[in-house]
Amino acid sequence: MKEVLLPRARPSRWVEFGFQGLSILMALLFTTLVLLMAGAPPLEAYRQVLEGAFGSLKRATDILVAWVPLMLVTSGLLLTFTAGLWNIGVEGQIVLGAIAATGLMRALQETSLPPPLILALAMTAGMVGGAAWASLAGLLKIYGGVHEIFGGLGLNFVATTMILWLIFGPWKRPGIGSMSGTEPFPERLWLPTFPGLRLSPWALLLALLSVALVYVLLRNTYFGLRLKAIGKNIRAAHRLGVPTARYLLLALLGCGAMAGLAGAIQVAAVYHRLIPPISSGYGYLGLLVAMLANYRVSWSVPVAFFFAALNIGSIQLPITLKLDSTLSGVMQGALVLFVLLMQGARARWRSKSVAEQGDDA
């Protein structure tokens, strides 16, 4: 047998860029079509989105307010994706983080403990809550043979029910329970923000720390290498001596902790109470961000920012153009679909060109 080093079957950088550019173009085209069908002027709508996102300092910092939970969730998901896990349960993990943080703050708000301590404890409680919820999915998978997608999906429903029960039951506002959530916390228990803005430097710091942590974990540690090995070939990883069950669980715990922290920040820094849609769908959005970023930490930062900007930018569409603000969702969804489609197209193109090369050999 001739010893040949097969080429790494990788098209040139330009081809790569070409495919990526094409998918963005197709997503824009698709969104434009949707806008035309809705009878809205597309260019005006895009201008409004830009305006809405970057029109003022306040709006621009609002993007960061949305970026913080999205980035936290995405960071966590990068751990589970690396280990080859589809942690759909991340939504529930955000919710449980929010519930745990709320529970702790409710329990301690009447005490004389210093507010920073209570807030720090609330953040920790959020992480523990999210991690605990994630561990359920992990234990179901490892010991019960329940695929993490189904386990996560089931646990998401339980989490939604639990939050509704708490808001309309034990934690309802004096008098009647309402969709507007639990009784707001006193202002001293709000995570401090920049003066005049909704952005909390502490929240921002936590999000940046988590990105940095995941970056280092995946790039420079044995923990990350083992997760990668498990994600790429769990049988071989097991045979080579990686304790696979333990690492799968650890990946889920890490992701749950970050998702839970996102939930706690939504409670303590954004809504100052527990509301039914506390997760704002950031869990599912985080899955999209991770996919669009091709599961790379460095790319996920700008992608998450872009998604956050779309969310914030489309907020005023209902007022100005009588369009629903879910336009951002249409764009995000279209973008991910087209990027994945292009990845599929590229893979086909690649295998074909490799096969042709093989014929020549």
Binding site: M1, K2, E3, N220, T221, Y222, L225, A229, A237, G241
Partner: protein, 487 residues
């Protein structure tokens, strides 16, 4: 229907599975296709039935060239294949499986299908309950079901891939009767096997494949001697071997019984001493893989005990075996052995971490460089393993064997390698043995086993022979034993 396959070539990546193989089968005959594992029998038949497409070559049915792009198309041309592992839907009923793939518009005709199934089953004397779920059937019954399904679909060419593995003796008798009868009715039967006695008992003609090449054809009366020669090649003169003085017992197996859903191995007792090389010979699926995996701690034995260097490891998890210095190197390199997508450096770091938490990539790269040199791997530290050739993947696997190892278990360590790479691998393994490691090697290359092993254990359909000292064996006797003779 007369089947002709002309000058078929097929490669899987760098592996040449078939090279210039031609086969002619006359209508109304039972044609044997004989060869050891990896000879290309199944690949050739998958090409005939439409599961695979040949790289080159043509297929003629009754003289007309055909080209299939799917098994469904093959079936429409009247070619049906009974696969070695039943390709059915275990969670569905016999009747539903029977109707699977039936082309008859949108609506299901359950009643008609039931009648057809019962009629066919009666004709052939099979006892199949249409309403029972397929996972309650034995392998033999599932085979009968698949056979009836194919007949109902109107196949004229029936391919059976190792059909006697895992079925009972009476089922085998019934199967053979059925095949003879079908041939008598004018159907063309291709019977893929590695068992000589089945060829003698059943086949009107036999084609032998060896390592992807056509080795020859034979008609009755068969000379087993000649068939074995065609399967394994002519015996070469043996080089001198110097026996290694055996050391302490490393592996002690007492009354071990291992099995899976289709095979139950006979009771085994074995002591392997340090420095010894034990060969496990036998056709694929005769039980040697199962036996080795039990020794590696990957398969839990049903009975008996496994001790490694005096420590009882029976029923312990794989990690305990690993810690005791038992290392297993599987044959399917990219499925169980290596991790596609990870580079050589990353592989070495997984097995030999140079720190506790943080990876020093610079140092890791230098270490990888050194191992790449030591093991003559053609690749760079940042090469992903799937880009390596088979030989280099094998070298990488050997480079990933931890030291110290007390017991090395290797599945087909030289499969798919050229002569030079094989000799390199064996040199390495001999070195390990001289350093005191005990080795157990599965190989289908009998020559290789005879040359390098101290003792050889033969497996045949779950039967395990006593370990036979290699001096007392000849290639000829080994070949006979593997084919189920001279036990």
């Amino acid at each position: 229907m007369k089947v002709e396959m002309r000058h078929i070539y097929k490669s899987f990546g760098p592996v040449r599975a078939l090279q210039d193989v031609s086969l002619t089968v006359e209508a109304g005959t039972i044609h044997g296709l004989l060869g050891e594992n990896g000879a290309g029998k199944t690949t050739l038949m998958k090409i005939l039935s439409g599961y695979l497409r040949p790289d080159r070559g043509e297929i003629l049915l009754d003289g007309k060239p055909v080209r299939f792009t799917s098994p469904a198309e093959g079936l429409r041309h009247g070619i049906g294949m009974l696969h070695q592992d039943p390709m059915d839907f275990p969670a569905m009923s016999v009747l539903d499986n029977f109707m699977m793939g039936h082309e008859g518009g949108f609506w299901l005709d359950r009643r008609g299908a039931r009648r057809a199934l019962q009629e066919l089953a009666r004709q052939f004397g099979f006892d199949l309950d249409p309403d029972v779920r397929v996972d309650h059937l034995t392998v033999g019954e599932r085979q009968q079901l698949e056979l009836l399904r194919l007949l109902w679909r109107g196949v004229r060419v029936l391919i059976l891939d190792e059909p006697t593995t895992g079925i009972s003796a009476p089922q085998k008798v019934r199967l053979f009767d059925t095949l003879r009868r079908l041939a008598g009715e004018g159907k063309t039967i291709i019977f893929v096997t590695h068992k000589l006695e089945e060829v003698e008992e059943l086949c009107h003609r036999v084609t032998v494949l060896r390592q992807g090449h056509l080795a020859g054809e034979a008609t009755p009366p068969y000379s087993p001697q000649r068939l074995i020669e065609m399967m394994f090649g002519r015996p070469l003169p043996m080089p001198e071997r110097q026996p290694v003085p055996p050391g302490e017992p490393v592996l002690e197996i007492r009354n071990l019984v291992v099995g899976d859903h289709r095979l139950r191995l006979s009771r085994a007792n074995l002591t392997v001493r340090s420095g010894e090389i034990i060969g496990l010979a036998g056709m694929e699926g005769s039980g040697q893989q199962l036996f080795m995996r039990a020794c590696a701690g990957l398969v839990r034995p049903w009975e008996g005990s496994i001790r490694v260097r005096g420590k009882d490891l029976t029923g312990k998890p794989y990690h305990a075996f690993l810690e005791a210095g038992v290392l297993f190197v599987p044959a399917n390199r990219l499925e169980e052995g290596l991790i596609p997508g990870l580079t050589l450096t990353e592989h070495f770091q997984l097995v030999y971490p140079n720190g506790r938490y943080l990876i020093d990539w610079e140092q890791a790269r230098a270490e990888a460089q050194r191992r790449i040199r030591d093991f003559s791997i053609r690749g760079k530290p940042e090469t992903v393993v799937e880009a390596l050739s088979g030989g280099n993947q094998q070298r990488t696997l050997l480079a990933l064997i931890r030291t110290p190892a007390h017991l090395l278990l290797l599945e087909h360590p030289t499969r798919g390698l050229d002569v030079e790479s094989s000799m390199w691998v064996w040199r390495r393994l001999k070195e390990r043995a001289q350093e005191g490691t005990a080795l157990m090697v599965i190989s289908s290359d009998l020559q290789e086993l005879m040359q390098y092993c101290d003792r050889i254990i033969v497996f045949f359909s779950g039967r395990i022979s006593e370990p036979i000292p290699t001096e007392e064996l000849t290639l000829d006797r080994l070949g006979h034993m593997i084919a189920g003779r001279g036990w």
